[in-house]
């Protein structure tokens, strides 16, 4: 059990961050898309994420929190190395988070400013997260290659988030905004596709260790389902977006579903590339694991609490199911 426990914690971190990328991904994507919408559409777009964003962001805190609990030395190493991008991301998340409320509560004269800060914050957070992911995949090594790689992923992340945001709007919105969302999705897909391709090609170039793991027999055959599924999911999403009659026939959720599958495959691929390291070539899962007694104490908590979190999250999504309507604190306000 003592040896398995760190693996369980690694799994929880991976799961939390994957859920974060999907859930806050659609929030941040909608934030990036905000400047391209009319004023009424902006209100609808934000209404569609209003009840959810706060809980969505909590998955990031869970991911980084479990990293702290499970692997204190890795947490310290990664965050110290990523000091600047973490700070940029935090500035972005702060601006995005407060703009939700300020844009409707502050003086109406300033609504444009808060809408602008909402978009800027979302874009900053998405870009910084991409940069951090890029630096992390290359094991935080310095040099032109890995910096270029981080730059590439910092472009991929906003594109992915825009597709997720468009996918969310296709579920929650109607009319002109629905068509606009489809259009945004169609435009972001090639960018995301190219970036994904570039990342897939350059990862093995940047990291010899990762190349070794993927491009040898029989690994390459056994691993084939991951890229194949990704390609199928990607082109399915694109096909649905182009065939507007399918979108309008009630299959718009396929865009979100297909993109989630793409994220899941990327996460699996990443997990395979990095194992058994928490920080590539520097710290393994077992080297940096916290004391077993600490892990056990939290393990029971996770076992008890995470099903409850899942249950009430599903409950809240069911309360706000269906197309988004204007946000209101109640009839008589």
């Amino acid at each position: 059990m003592g040896d398995l426990l760190p693996l369980v914690f690694m799994g929880v971190i991976g799961f939390a961050l994957l859920v974060y990328v999907v859930l806050d991904g659609y929030d941040l994507g909608i934030g990036i898309l905000l400047p391209f919408a009319s004023d009424d559409e902006k209100d609808t777009m934000i209404a569609s994420i209003g009840p959810f964003w706060d809980a969505n962001e909590t998955w990031l805190v869970l991911g980084v929190g479990v990293l702290l609990i499970g692997f204190p030395s890795a947490y310290a190493m990664v965050l110290t190395a990523l000091y600047i991008p973490v700070t940029v991301m935090l500035f972005g998340l702060i601006l995005r988070g407060v703009s939700f409320d300020f844009r409707v509560k502050a003086n109406v004269k300033h609504k444009r400013l808060w809408n602008g800060l909402f978009a800027v914050g979302s874009f900053l957070a998405a870009t910084a997260q991409g940069w951090m992911l890029g630096r992390y995949i290359t094991g935080l090594t310095p040099g032109l290659m890995s910096t270029g790689f981080a730059f590439l992923i910092s472009l991929t992340m906003p594109a992915l988030y825009v597709v997720l945001g468009a996918g969310w709007l296709l579920i929650k919105c109607e009319g002109a905004l629905f068509d606009k969302a489809a259009d945004w999705g169609r435009k972001a897909m090639p960018v995301m596709g190219l970036a994904l391709l570039a990342v897939s090609v350059s990862t093995p170039i940047v990291s010899a260790a990762i190349a070794q793991r993927w491009f040898t027999l029989p690994n390459i055959i056994g691993l084939a389902p991951i890229p194949v599924t990704t390609i199928i999911a990607f082109f399915s999403v694109y096909w649905v977006l182009v065939r507007t009659e399918i979108l309008h026939a009630g299959y718009a959720w396929l865009v979100m579903a297909g993109t989630v599958v793409t994220c899941l495959m990327a996460a699996l691929g990443l997990a395979y590339s990095l194992y058994p390291f928490v920080v590539l070539n520097r710290l393994t899962i077992w080297e940096s694991a916290a004391a077993t007694k600490s892990l056990m104490f939290v393990f029971w908590g996770i076992l008890l609490v995470v099903p409850a979190i899942a249950a009430y999250t599903v409950f809240v999504y069911s309360v706000f199911r269906g197309k988004a309507t204007g946000l209101s604190y109640g009839q008589n306000e």
């Binding site: 909590t58 209101s328 604190y329």
Partner: protein
Amino acid sequence: MSALDAVDLARIQFALNISFHILFPTISIGLAWILLFFRLRFTATTNRLWEYAYYFWVKVFALTFALGVVSGVTMSFQFGTNWPGFIERAGNIAGPLLGYEVLTAFFLESTFLGIMLFGKEKVSNRVHLFSSAMVVLGTTLSAFWILSLNSWMQTPQGYEIIDGVFHPVSWWDIVFNPSFPYRLAHMLNASLLTSAFLVAGISAWRILRKVDGPATLSVLKTGVVMAAVLSPVQVFIGDLHGLNTLKHQPAKIAAIEGIWHTEKGAPLTLFGFPDEGEKTTHFAIEIPKGASLILTHDPDGEVLGLNEFEGRHPPVAFVFWSFRVMVGTGFLMIAVSWIAAWSLSRKKKASGLVLTALSMMTFAGWVATLSGWYVTEVGRQPWLITGQMRVSEAAAPHSSATLAGTLLGYGLLYGFLLVAYVGTIRYMATKPAASLKLANIYSKSASDSLSPERS
């Protein structure tokens, strides 16, 4: 010298972040309870007045909560970006306590917040009340865990050190460490007091500005009664907390009281200018034997002085003054809330003077809470974990330039947000109260009943 500067900059940066952060939970924990009270009052009395009170204050709550969340996320990263040494050595203990805060508090409050804020028309009154209660529970649990960790750093127990790394021995001893019950009670009460003065102060301001409705006076009374009851309670808890500190962190008490040398029958210094170089307090106004009486309940009791803790005590003047600002604000709170309560109980309308005093005290809770935290946190210096680990051992190896740059960024951002927050609350409070509609309905039905022949 430059290494020292980097640690100081990291300290200032963390202090800035945590000071900015604590402003908002301090309001939102207490305000969540007040909102639940408004909802329960409406459910019990079906008087719409409480609904109007709720609709105004839930907006303030939403704004405050958002600022608390985003500044709190910052904290969860800064333990790693700024204090890697702390996590490397004490992660086995800090990690699980922070983890339980995320698991039991953050998800609960943030998920049910959606229903509380925007689900009122989508769920039954009972489900909405339940969701509001879950938000209250979440915010309060969050305080429970984070104060447990903070108190453990002040008064650590239940651990062993193996190869320089802290390992848990008893989780019960860790969570319920000696200073925790006092700090938790002191902080939760501070939060209730801060929000009581906020709702009373804003309501008073609205009455002065003549934009109030019938709900405004009820909210004012709620705030005043809360403040009048809780402010003396805070003095009592604070005294117990102080005695607990004397037992476990005598150096902090010596700095608070400005006691330079161990003595029997130590005087209580009311005011003065502590001078660490000369080891004396200039122009001290003292009450003979006062400190011994308060701290040992014996006029000739012995009190340890700063000379016992050479190189291991906090900066004296800062702690000394922070304590006096906290206590001074606290007694001002008692005076204003008691006069306001007395005035409101005698007359139907509050006097202009009382309203002005209350509105000037709107953010008094912030002053008292921040200065109180400075007493306890700066008072812990130079230790990060009392007696075991110094702050300087935990800092990350960032350059002074990097830290100064990000510090400037944080300073500008937080300054901007603080202005926007206070400005927005002022803007919201300037709009005519929605409960004026209620007044119109009342006066209309009153005039109708006076002239039944017309209908």
